[in-house]
């Protein structure tokens, strides 16, 4: 199967390069090293008019050799305050990365899904309880200012600073 995963990653890579202009919130999506198609990185841009505006969030993507039967493992490298992202490890709680994964998803569509997760949090399955509790209490103003603070603190400079 390992040759199959490489062939699929190569096709995804070519499609990603072709569609580069059509993804406003995905600044970058590429293999970290050109000869290793199983380890990628991505940079998400915070949506304008959201609390993440101005932030650049780096993702680390590991493709298992059984891909696309198994989902890729994706985590935030940049610290981010979000109900569904673990603040310390960067782990993401998203159904399509776990139980709802199907081979119909691609790296590109998964990154777009993570990008839309930023503005559509799911406080019912939290990895960051503090952020989720603020939302569950209805304190949107408090939540937004918390997110803005962390975005300004960690995500406005160089992404590589962890």
């Amino acid at each position: 199967m390992s040759s199959a995963v490489h062939r699929r990653m190569l096709k995804e890579y070519m499609a990603i390069q072709k569609n580069a202009a059509t993804r406003p919130h995905l600044e970058l999506l590429e293999p970290i090293q050109e000869d290793d198609l199983l380890h990628w990185q991505a940079i998400l841009l915070g949506t304008a008019d959201s609390a993440y505006e101005g932030g650049r969030f780096k993702l680390d993507i590991v493709i298992p050799t059984s891909y696309p039967i198994q989902s890729p493992t994706i985590r935030f490298v940049t610290k981010i305050c979000h109900p569904n992202v673990h603040f310390k490890t960067g782990e993401i709680c998203l159904d399509i990365l776990k139980s709802e994964w199907t081979p119909a998803w691609t790296l590109e569509s998964v990154c777009v899904a993570i990008s839309s997760l930023l503005t559509n949090p799911e406080p019912s399955s939290p990895l960051n309880c503090d952020a989720a509790n603020l939302l569950r209490c209805g304190d949107t103003a408090g939540y937004n200012s918390l997110v803005k603070m962390y975005t300004a603190l960690y995500a406005t400079g160089d992404c590589d600073e962890e």
């Binding site: 199967m1 199959a4 062939r7 699929r8 096709k11 995804e12 696309p68 039967i69 198994q70 199907t102 081979p103 119909a104």
Partner: protein
Amino acid sequence: MAMHQFPLLVQWSSEPEIYHGFLSVMDRELEICIEMPGTGAGRTGSTLTKAGPRNASKNILSSRIGCISGSEELKEILSGQETQLQQKMEEAKDMASFLVELVDTLEVTMSNRSAKGDKERPLRYWTHVMEQLDALGWDRVTLVDQDLSRVQIELCDASQRKHLITARFPPAYPTMPLSIAPLEIPVCEDDQLAAQHGLNMGGLSSKQGIGLEDVIRQAEGQLEIFREFWDVMQDFDERTWVIDPEKPTRADKVRRCALGNHCSIQVTVQPLSPRSMPDTRLFGPTASIEPMRTKLYQNAGLWDVKKLPRENLEVLLELESGFPSPISTNKDDINVGCGICYSFRFEGQIPDQLCSHVKCQQPFHRACLYEWLRSVPTTRQSFHTLFGACPYCGETITTSAPKT
């Protein structure tokens, strides 16, 4: 100086001592020239220019007892062993005893070579092979081995298709007959019909005495028998998208042609009556191929042997714009890759498992879909069939274990 052991060496001069002649090894004569420094004159320089063999370029070996030069042939045989021989020469007490050692070395080297099959072929072989090729005409020869043992000849049939035929000449040619690799022709199941066409399925006969030209003429006869068959196949190859086989050979009589919308038709042409109605098989989602199958049966009477089978199928299937072809459509629109591995051809398989949902119809390889469904906990299994959800639309999709 005991040079009399080598009767083919003749003394040319005595001051310095120069011998010129041949060393006789394994029935071959190798040209050699030996110069030994004169005893009292103290001349150590080489004066080989007068006496050296015509094609000698440089000394092969030289030491205090003298120097040796020889023909290219000798040099070639000794190549790689110079250092070893040089050492022996330094140790030898005189030229005669060294020559004995040199002959030994030559014998060993040459017998090793002939054991590797690099045997010299007799003149008779060369003249006969050349004669055959001259008679055939060198313009038809596309490839020859260095020793002419294998010759590839290009044949052209009446429709300007090129066919390659390989002839092998055994070392004992012409006592042994030449052998011809069978032409790439389709296998005919109907033996009787084959016999009627005077077709010898055992290949081309090449008895002793039959020349290359006769064999080629025989092969051309066979090509003529299948000319119409290849015309039909070529028409399929040029005017439709053939999705299987990937690279059809002259022997392939099956073509699977894309019809668009994930449907395809497999046509098996009869080699000896290529224009009659071939065996066909339709592939694709049942909802799409069922009406086509009905059309094939209903319109069967419209089959016209004067037309090419491709044209006939277009009439029978009521394809208004004909088969999708390389002229009219893009390959990627026809060869839709598997929804899991994204390839079209994977381990020789094409994605033939389709989602039955009309709006989805996503194709998958059986192996890919099987592996996916097996990994999903909600998939049910009944005997060898898996029932699960299409990765794309979520509708029920079934598949069975791929043949291993």
